[in-house]
Amino acid sequence: MTDIEQIEQYLSGELNAEQRQSFEQRLHTDHEFAETFKIYQAIEEEMTTDNEDDLRNELGPHTSKYFESNAGAKVIPINRKRQRWWMYATAAAASIVILLLWKPWADKKLSNEELYAKNAVPENLPSFVRGSNNDSLLINASEAFNRKDYAAAKPLLDSISKLRPTEAQLQLADGIANTETANYNIAIEKFDVLAAGQSIYKYDAMFWKGLTFLKQGKKDECIAALKLIPADASNYKKATGLIERLGG
């Protein structure tokens, strides 16, 4: 039996009284073995994760808010003295031209595919989760997902979401990757689980369930799914807007 096997059996209480005594005796006499034992315990103490991923999930939105969003936010000061009336006039004229070309009021004519594309804008997965488990798998999955390479992201997210069933953001991303790769039943199953839970992605999951129906051209099912989003949800306006566009 190797030293490590002996240490594991000792710590899990699998040794009998005699074996325990002999183990403890060896700790006193064999310096090398005693060091191995201490390092084994230190590794277990430092590396055992203790709901840390739940905390990372909890911190993720704050980290995104205070780091990522600030990155590109530059304040451009306006020198008021230099403003001229014609600047306003030019801006107003330009706005009118843009509105005439863009025709935002013509959205009702959008096809299901166009409406889907317009609304299917997933939030990026955080890219700063290094230090947690399964780093390389997670980093590769996040990168593929964030560059919208869903075919590459799907198998990675499928594996990682099995390993981390309690991480709502990853479950949502896996659902989205399944929708995007036309694995609709798996996607809806994922969104249903999230919708029944209490995570902050609950209502996102309900919205994405609606989008999954929309992508398949199932307009009525889409409307029915979106109507379940309550008025106090942050995406309620977005959901009612889409219902309206679909004529529901």
Partner: protein, 223 residues
Amino acid sequence: MCETCLRLRKRAIDRFNGSNKLPFHAYLYVMPAIHPDNKYIEALLHHDPALLDELYSRYSGKITHMVLQNNGSEADAADIFQEALVDIYKKAKKGFTLTCPMEAFLYLICRNRWRNTITRKKYSSVTFADEEGYSNLVTDDSFANAEQVITHQNRKDLIESKLAELGESCRELLKLSWSGKKLEVIAEIMKTTYAYIRKKKGDCTGKLIDLIKGSPNYTLLLN
């Protein structure tokens, strides 16, 4: 005796006119009180979103500045800040309470984490520019508080650096086992048998310990 204990003892000796024979109650006079900023430690423990938001709003900018001044990016700062909070959380779960202001404490922990990172990445310049204005904030108390978390950071960094030298399958297996999954479950995930996984885990741990023992600062893990 630990450094914090030595510092407390010195403080007690100073207070009791330099006498080395301290009465038992001497330590009660010098034990630092819990600082009001301990509310942030509680917020981490109890996942209080409003206080966590306040914590980010008050300190994230300063940590970003420190990382940007020292060859880092904003993404690095986000990583350092979030993982420092995870380190503090782990310590808090074992009963740590804060007896100094949060700002200096968090600064010291993030600084240590970023220093370890730039040393590991072997950046061309490892000279570390300390932030101006922190010399007044960083006191004995903040050092003593931060030291408790920093010791764990350094131990964990050493283990992680050696873990990176193991093969992919060993790394995956050990991480799964540290995540609290039973060996039976890991065997299922890795599509193999319990007996194989148990043996393999022992082999991987043995390899990791050998690598650690080959490192000049492995004694960090013996205390």
